[in-house]
């Protein structure tokens, strides 16, 4: 039997190759994702481990939970002496890590993306860096920077540059270049090392430090040292060994990769596999139908039904195995490609360790390749087993329809309904976000599968619509193509379904992104209502000094600075707290009030809070209730709920309090953005230029008009959207292989017809056109169903997320583009099959009798 299978595969090389490709691309995406994410997490592990090389134990301020953005808690510098006094300590050094970008030739390095670190210089053995050339800074105003920065920006030892600090740009001189241990790449991150006194002055941390690095005396293990430090120091600090600390820091970053990036990329891999499964199913169905005589012959010479079934499953097994092996190799290529894609979309890139071949990943690749192929081939294999022996003798024999095939439409309908129900339940439940997403993904999967099965009923109608213009073209190609496409609606539907999935998801994200964009831009217009908006260039807060600099610019009327931190609220969980200047907020912001009025904002300094409606609902807070809040460092305070507003986009997930009460409890001082209004009658653009001049000392801050900011947000959403398009393009490419496969198989089936058509006067180009039009009709059907389904799904999602401010807006132009892309896909897919059809000798076709 195995020889029979292999001989069969050799005979149908092209088909086997195309079929394997359909699945191997999905395998490549899955393994590529696993390879890449393990590369990234290992890179971060390496970064933090080598940063802690000489650190046996690290002492940090105790926190109950992570504060928000850069609100890093501090210790008094005097703690260093306390630490030094404890038994087993060989050396202890104060540490400060801050964010501050190099400014070279007046240009701000690294506008977005990877962080720019500023470290206080530490004595040996605590240095995380290795000196490549020059020396570490000694005097005030001297710094060492990472070699990568020097290389990319053309600076070196002796060069002058600036550091963007909360106090503005400080001039410094480079005295040394460092590398970060044995890391192949730290991405686009920059490192600046300066004497500790300078860093403290720049970051207004005089007398304060972030942590203390400790080394143990010979013979004292880090664990023992950590134990004695914990015993000897007050409860306001946390003590961890260097390794524990590195693991904890790495986890913060790698969690984001493992919990977000990996599942997100895997999802695209699974989509590709899902598309591939449709193609496998379709290809095997067609070949089983074409091999009726051969299968019947097997039965007549004594093969059992089971053996016939295994001959088909075995073929799938071989194809899946090949796809798994090649897909594994391609996965490494895919990982490499993804690094390039990220580099292109996220300037600065991400740190990546060398790729490793792991047995686990190899096993997954093989299991996925074989598993998906075999499962998709099961139904055709079962059908093959029903071929009666008589099929060997009779031309045009058919497989007896199975008992359940009658119920296919009903089953599909039920599946579609179940899918929609799952999506709705995922949207409306209060469960964990990951679980909800999973439920919704499963629901969408069911909907796509069911629509794929049901679409055969729509094929004749859609073929007529899409084929209409083609049939009007001179020559018979259009009419023949339309008839060919509708001859076997199930086959056309399954072929189109593969493309439908890709196009459907593209349409879905397009509509969803449009809604997201609209919800953001509406919020900027309606909630912020400012003329100018000041934000940081990277995802970090901007220096507090920018508030005064902006407010004192002539022409600026009011400035609202959004300073935020995390708080733990008794009985209501974590919240984001916004500390605003009451008077400016009242005059500027346009919150949508559920209960209360803008006047409440003006009274916030008296200790009241206004709460966002979603948070009020989930935390069960009503007007008049008291919020008992604690900061990440354990400071407690209380606020009376004065009003409730609705804002899912900007001041969301928590509540707004006055600036003064905020500063008494929370550590954050740097705002994440400023909103400014201009004096009546002033031109916002002119005032913007003036503000930009005032903000010169803070190159991290960027001022934009309302309209510019809205464009910026749109662009950000777009760039994510394009990244999704790139990932979904893979599915579309896979579906192309499906169309090619079906066309090639159909042409083989119709060799004699093609010969007849050529004999009665169909030219080669008319024949090619006939194949191309059939392809276009098929892909057009996939495109139309996909777009309709994608928009419908997006509508359900937007409806379910209306609370989050997502609105349903249809990007018509883009949908038209997607349809054009589907048609183009059809044209592209037809190239090879049309050439093969045209190469057929009409005589060969007729000799077939």
């Amino acid at each position: 039997m195995i020889r029979f299978i292999l001989a069969g595969l050799r005979q149908r090389k092209l088909r086997a190759g195309l079929t394997a490709t359909a699945i191997l691309l999905g395998v490549a995406m899955v393994t590529g994702t696993l390879v890449l994410t393990s590369q990234i997490t290992r890179a971060f592990d390496e970064i933090f481990q080598s940063a802690n090389q000489g650190v046996d134990v690290r002492v940090t301020p105790h926190i109950d939970f992570e504060g928000r953005f850069g609100s890093i808690p501090t210790l008094p510098e005097s703690f260093v002496a306390k630490v030094k006094g404890i038994e087993g300590v060989a050396a202890a050094a104060p540490e400060i890590a801050a964010l501050g970008s190099p400014v070279i030739n007046g240009e701000y390095v690294q506008a977005t993306g990877a962080p720019s670190f500023v470290f206080a210089l530490e004595p040996p053995p605590f240095q995380a860096t290795t000196l490549a050339s020059g020396r570490y800074p000694q005097a005030s105003g001297e710094v060492a920077v990472n070699q990568g920065l020097a290389d990319s920006r053309g600076v070196g030892i002796g060069s002058r540059m600036g550091i963007a600090t909360p106090k503005g740009v400080r001039p410094v001189t480079i005295t040394g270049l460092v590398t970060f241990a044995n890391i192949s790449s730290i991405g686009g991150a920059t490192i600046t090392i300066a004497p500790i006194a300078d860093v403290q002055r720049w970051y207004q941390m005089e007398g304060k430090i972030n942590s203390i690095a400790v080394s143990a005396k010979p013979g004292v293990s880090p664990t023992e040292l950590a134990r004695s430090l914990a015993a000897g120091l007050p409860r306001t600090v946390d003590v961890a060994t260097g390794q524990q600390d590195a693991a904890k820091q790495a986890k913060r970053t790698t969690d984001a990769i493992n919990n977000f990036l990996r599942p997100a990329l895997l999802a695209f891999g699974f989509i590709a596999l899902f598309v591939g499964a449709f193609i496998i199913f379709n290809t095997f169905s067609i070949t089983v139908a074409q091999r009726l005589r051969e299968l019947g012959l097997l039965r007549t010479i004594g093969a059992s039904r089971r053996q016939v079934m295994w001959s088909v499953v075995g073929e799938a097994l071989v194809i899946g195995l090949v796809a798994g092996i090649v897909g594994l190799a391609a996965g490494y290529g895919f990982a490499w490609l993804l690094v390039k894609v990220f580099d292109a979309f996220l300037p600065g890139g991400i740190p990546v360790a060398a790729a490793q071949l792991s047995p686990g990943i190899a096993l997954i690749a093989l299991l996925v390749g074989v598993g998906v192929t075999v499962v998709a081939a099961l139904i055709p294999a079962f059908r093959a087993s029903r071929v009666p022996p008589i099929a060997a003798l009779r031309e045009g024999a058919e497989i007896p329809p199975s008992r359940i095939s009658r119920f296919t439409p009903i089953i599909s309908g039920v599946l579609a309904a179940a899918g929609v129900a799952l999506i709705v339940s995922g949207l409306t439940s209060n469960g964990d976000a990951t679980d909800r997403l999973l439920i919704m993904a499963l629901g969408s999967f069911l909907v796509f599968a069911a629509i794929g099965a049901l679409s055969r009923y729509a094929v004749p109608f859609l073929a007529r619509v899409i084929g209409w213009p083609l049939e009007r073209l001179p020559g018979a190609s259009g009419a023949l193509a339309r008839r060919n496409a509708t001859r076997n609606p199930a086959r056309t539907a399954a072929t189109a379904a593969a493309l439908m999935i890709g196009i459907g998801l593209v349409a879905f994200v397009a509509v969803f992104a449009q809604g997201l964009k609209a919800s953001f831009t509406d919020a900027i217009d309606n909630t912020l209502r400012g003329d100018l908006i000041v934000t940081g260039r990277s995802f970090t807060p901007i220096p507090a000094g920018t508030v005064t600099a902006t407010a004192s610019t002539p022409g600026v009327r009011d400035v609202v600075a959004a300073v935020t931190d995390r708080a733990k609220v008794d009985g209501a969980g974590k919240a984001i707290v916004y500390g605003l200047d009451p008077a400016a907020a009242e005059r500027t912001l346009g919150l949508e009030w559920v209960q209360g009025s803008p006047a409440l904002l003006g009274q916030l300094n008296s200790g009241t809070a206004v709460v966002e409606s979603q948070y009020a609902k989930s935390g069960n807070l009503a007007v008049g209730d008291i919020i008992y809040a604690a900061s990440s460092t354990g400071k407690r305070s209380q606020f009376r709920v004065a009003g409730i507003y609705k804002d899912p986009d900007i001041f969301n997930q928590g509540f707004i309090v006055g600036q003064l009460p905020f500063q008494r409890v929370f550590a954050a001082r740097d705002p994440i953005f400023l909103v400014a209004t201009v004096d009546p009658g002033r031109d916002p653009v002119a005032v913007k230029d003036a503000v930009a001049r005032s903000l010169k000392p803070y190159p991290i801050a960027q001022v934009r008009t309302n309209a510019e900011y809205r464009d910026e947000i749109s662009k950000q959403v777009d760039s994510i959207l394009y990244l999704l398009y790139v990932l979904l393009a893979m599915s579309v490419v896979i579906s192309l292989f499906g169309i090619v496969n079906t066309l090639v198989l159909s042409i083989t089936e119709r060799i004699r017809e093609i010969g007849m058509l050529r004999a009665i006067g169909l030219t080669r180009s008319q024949l090619r056109r006939m194949v191309r039009y059939e392809s276009v009709i098929t892909s057009g059907i996939g495109g139309v169903i996909g777009i309709v389904l994608g928009v419908a799904l997006a509508w359900v999602f937007c409806l379910g997320l209306a609370d989050q401010g997502i609105v349903f807006r249809v990007p018509w132009l883009q949908l038209v583009v997607f349809f054009v892309v589907s048609i183009a896909a059809g044209v592209l897919a037809a190239v090879l099959p049309a050439r093969r059809a045209a190469r057929l000798d009409p005589l060969d076709a007729l000799h077939y009798e």
Binding site: R483, T486, R487, A759, I760, T763
Partner: protein
Amino acid sequence: MSTNGDGIAVHAEGLGRRYGEGEAAIDALADVTVSFPKGQFAAVMGPSGSGKSTLLHCLAGLDRPTSGEVTIDGTALSGLSDRDLTVLRRTAIGFIFQSFNLLPMLTARENVELPLRIAGRLDSARVDATLADVALGDRATHRPAELSGGQQQRVAIARALVSHPTVIFADEPTGNLDSTSGHEILHLLRRAVDEGGRTVVMVTHDPRAAVVADRVLMLSDGRVVMDRPGMTADEIYDAVRTLDSP
């Protein structure tokens, strides 16, 4: 359509067709020279492997002869590109096959329309008339699967006639039919010659079919061994018997 060629529809001069190379080469046709005047119904006969199908394919421009020249209605085929040859087949030649070769997804009428649509000059009146000629006006909307073998072959004849070709090549048109249906088909071809002025070249191995023809050519081992007009059934039987047992 050109009318030159002195009333000769198809002419073959020194036609040879060799398959394979060297020692294993087989001459399916060897130096065949033959003319078919317009308005003639010719039957080509011969035992299996005599080269009758090869002759038909070469005459129709489906197969390229290795030597010699075919001229259809004054046009030499050897100089034509694939495209020109296809257009010639479309305008000057009609085909009828043993296995009908209708498109299953098209109705009878659509199958008949096909050559005109391919040429981009659909003429409904002509299609109607042609369908009426083969007595299938009432079956126009049926698909091949809903028609009997004889009816399907009548559709095929209509498809061959509809473009008013100079010559119709028929390859065993009665081979898959019972004798009644076969007779109908031959009658239709006869009428196409007598009333429509067409030229028919029919390959057959059935003497009862050949008897309808104006002229019978007998092929053996790629050569014309007999070429006689107006043979009776008995004469044809005798000729076949002689060829089969040398």
